[in-house]
Symmetry: C2
């Protein structure tokens, strides 16, 4: 296999339609790779897309619809050479949760709402991409995503138990609802359906483990469909797909109502971010391996356009999928042409092969979903994260529990809000350290951490680790004032500002007031190593000039101490910092 | 006047009831000061409290009720020697806004809701104080408070126009509603009422300006009430207070309904924070002047208990007031005994003097409110703040506009949300700087800011100003990878971590991944000056050990560069950083 990967030429027309850039250096050898990869992904995508369609609450054939035009659109606009776009489990679950209870049991209205949701998701993604706001996804931290994904995988698996056991029960969305409904419907379990499910799950797991190169889902679908047709499983009470309509989807704008748009908007935002995040993460990883480059905001526009087309072609929201992209890459995909091959194969399937799915039991699709998502449950993550940082572990646990017990959107929202809250709370209580000199150097270190540092009772050197802003300025000011009030003989405080990374008007005011109040205690405030942006703001606030003119601004701590001692600043060698570190030693 | 101030003894019983601590060093001389101050505040408080009661939508006499028991409770528990608690304008406005439209025009229900609100405010304050969460008020930045106060003052003034002009109009809460209602009722303006208002405002302004030591409000109230009684203003269409009931309030628990509690809770939280903030700010300022000390969380408990008692005694939320506290202090208040004197005077007034207010025109109370609040409008603040930092100016403007046009709680909430959003957004895009060596020193500075620094094309020294966490870790990692990809001949990146003030699990993961990916570009990542808390987390995340064992951790930049160059770390004098600063010089 050729290991060279074409890079994308991004000049001229290729700026608008990146596919043009890929084709400039295209040749037959590259096409052979793309062809093999495209076919490989197609045999995986056909059963998966139908399975995820049922997960989303949609007819199976719409999974195929979601895997034709959106793939073509992504192939035209995407910057990743190996990302495989289409229906994915998590966004299918989120789609189902967003539409739950909104269609009053009317499948046509449900489908129209799903298409509307895809349009909204696409619109939001294109907008964010154009505004270069793709960085917004970074506000979903990994602990939050880990908790969210694990809980979503469990909810997805639970939602498939109905089809795996052939139960007669209504739709249920959240985990507690599903468990209650399953409990109520347990007696309706259907023996033959359970056997089909067990065989399917076992075959999928064994094939994935021992023959990972074979298209497991396709083989299971083909095998069980053949058996189901031969023995008329449909007549024996096994739910089969029955008539899957043949033909390609035709474009249609779903009927829009302002009320529906408003109701679906929060879900659309959540899906837009999660769908983009899943894709960009895998695209970046694969691009690093192939030494290609992805443009994050361009990717957002590309997947957004794919979602817009999904909404126009009677489908539901799509995303760049983790597992299919990995298969695409390892099967040799070089450029988005592979995705075009996949789309063509799915289109042929929709045109010609849908009658073949008539006898396919729904339980097989459920088995495909369950086997696909169970690997997503991150069992060790919580413990590891908790060990590294308590609050990150709490964010993970909170997201997991709220997603499982309340719902996917509340879970994600709670996780993001909690982790931002923790960040702000920590910033409001920044770490501060009193510093002492490392003997025989000009380096200053935290006296609480390093034994044997030299200090001088006349001078306190204090480092503040964090921005000085409205939420913490008062607190820091109080801290230093208390120090000045408690230590007799203190003549100066040197504020090591090297880690004060930002400042606002409240920070500037607090600093100016602190200087005055310290002066009331006969303590001089010296500033050392003030960062550029902080200096600029202090200047605009009218604080900098007076501090500097008083000679209380210094490039580093030794200079500041020399000035505090009254020694000429240039004459640093005369600085005599006397002992005192001993009584502050820590073991 | 004696200028010594007793400090509070905080041992034994005084820990629970601070008043005991004050009384341990009490003598007649101190009492003389407290007596004068208490009487001075009382003559100010009687008319003001009745005026603020009407602003809160309550009968005037409840202003007196709010100024008796709550003052006694605060005097027992407060740690400030000069804070004057009672009804204040902003919380009266917030009370009125919170109760608007909830009482269905029933005064008894309105009064019960006001008492319930006071109980909620008190409960929240006591809870926050016990949990030591007084720092929460710091999340209201000065720009937000400035915009809020200015808008609230304008809304308050507008709400008084009705009484100043004797208009017949219903209640209106927000500024647009008030303006519309005033416009509709303009033709009902009453000539004599307007004259009373003009005289009152003029007298109040002139007395404050030219005779600031005289009790202006009391003189105006007494003078105009006398004229009003002599010429029967009440019969001439001027709205007068009529029957003000005599006697002291009796304790009663307002009827509680869960629905009312839920409806009032957001307002109660806002009032609890604003009321505390107004008090603690002035208490701290006065304590600094008198070299006394206030305990912020103790103050929260004390003012919370005062509010609980206000709720029990048929009043409405109270706070430590700015202007009366200043008067209390300058009149010589030494201890909370001054507040006890004030409370006794107000109680006497409620018992004996209420008939004297029969002929007092409501317009006079409105004039007192307007004159008190107009000084609160901060006309220069917005421009100054905008000049120092754009986002702080925007926070001020946003809070002002939302408070004025939508309401007090939405205004405060919008301001806090916006300023936190700005803080998080800035932290997600931290300032980074490439550093060069200051010739003939070991100091490194931003090459974009300082001309003539020495750099070496083989090594990039990069400083990141801010915590490395989920919202920015990916971005920083991408930035350094792009640098490694673009610069040929780059052998090492030295990350100056001196300003990386915090790190989370995502930051640790990103750093580990960055190291590996840079290695793929044949670039070594060195860490210099890693702060203690950051080091601890990297250690727990399993990252620290491998970086340290590889010899890529250094106490400072010169050591890191020496190691990158392959020079023995201890032998720093052989470090030869070659030129290159010239082409990066900035003017």
């Amino acid at each position: 296999m050729n290991s060279t990967y074409p890079t994308q030429d991004r000049s001229g027309l290729a700026r608008v339609v990146p596919l043009v850039g890929w084709l400039r250096h295209y040749d037959r050898k590259i096409f052979r790779h793309d062809l093999v990869a495209g076919l490989t992904v197609a045999v995986m995508l056909v059963p998966q897309s139908m399975a995820y369609a049922t997960l989303a609450g949609m007819p199976p054939v719409t999974g195929l619809y979601a895997s034709i035009v959106p793939l073509v659109v992504y192939a035209l606009l995407g910057t990743s050479g190996s990302l495989a776009v289409g229906p994915v489990a998590i966004t299918a679950l989120m789609t189902s949760a967003a539409l739950a209870g909104r269609a009053d049991g009317d499948p046509a209205r449900y489908a129209a709402l799903a298409a509307l949701l895809a349009l909204l998701v696409g619109g939001i993604q294109v907008l964010l991409g154009v505004l270069r706001l793709g960085v917004l996804v970074n506000f979903m931290s990994h602990p939050v995503l880990s908790g969210f994904t694990s809980a979503a995988a469990i909810v997805i698996a639970a939602s498939q138990v109905k089809d795996l056991f052939g139960l007669n029960m209504g739709r249920a969305e959240t985990f507690p609802e599903i468990v209650a409904a399953l409990w109520g419907a347990a007696t309706t379990a259907h023996g033959l359906t359970i056997i089909v499910s067990l065989v399917s799950v076992a075959a999928l797991v064994l094939l994935r483990r021992y023959a990972p190169r074979l298209p497991g889902a396709l083989l299971v679908v083909a095998g069980i469909t053949a058996v189901s047709a031969a023995f008329s499983f449909g007549d024996r009470g096994v739910k089969i797909l029955s008539n899957v309509p043949a033909g390609l989807p035709v474009p249609a704008l779903p009927t829009l109502s302002g009320q529906d748009v408003q109701a679906l908007l929060p879900a659309a935002i959540a899906i837009a971010l999660v769908a983009y995040l899943e894709g960009i993460a895998v695209a970046k990883t694969l691009a690093a391996k192939s030494r290609q480059q992805v443009g994050p905001d361009r990717e957002l526009v590309a997947v957004g356009a794919a979602n817009l087309s999904a909404g126009l072609f009677q489908a539901f929201p799509v995303a760049g999928g983790l597992s299919r992209s990995a298969v695409n890459f390892s099967a040799g995909a070089r450029t988005p042409v592979a995705t075009l091959v996949t789309a063509a194969m799915v289109a042929l399937t929709a045109l010609l092969l849908t009658p073949a799915f008539h006898h396919l039991p729904r339980a097989v699709l459920a088995a495909i979903v369950v086997v696909a998502v169970l690997g997503l449950v991150d069992r060790k993550g919580a413990a590891t994260t908790w060990r590294v940082r308590r609050t990150d572990g709490l964010a993970l646990a909170l997201t997991f529990l709220v997603t499982l017990l309340v719902g996917v959107e509340p879970g994600l929202a709670a996780g993001v809000a909690f982790s931002l809250g923790v960040f702000v709370w920590r910033s409001a209580r920044p770490h501060t350290a009193e510093l002492g000199r490392v003997p025989d150097t000009d380096r200053y270190r935290n006296v609480q951490r390093f034994p044997g540092l030299l200090t001088d009772p006349r001078f306190a050197v204090v480092r503040v680790d964090g921005p000085l802003y409205f939420a913490n300025a008062q607190r820091l000011s109080d801290q230093l004032l208390t120090m000045a009030g408690q230590r007799t003989g203190l003549a100066a405080i040197v504020l090591d500002a090297s880690a004060i990374t930002d400042i606002d008007t409240d920070g500037a005011t607090a600093l100016a007031e602190l200087r005055e109040r310290l002066a009331g205690h006969d303590v001089v405030l010296h500033l050392a190593t003030v960062r550029g942006p902080v200096r600029d703001l202090l200047d605009r606030a009218g604080v900098w000039r007076s501090v500097r003119d008083a000679g209380h601004v210094h490039p580093d701590i030794p200079t500041a101490l020399a000035a505090a001692e009254g020694t000429p600043a240039g004459d640093r060698t005369t600085l005599a910092v006397v002992g005192g570190g001993a009584d502050r030693e820590v073991q």
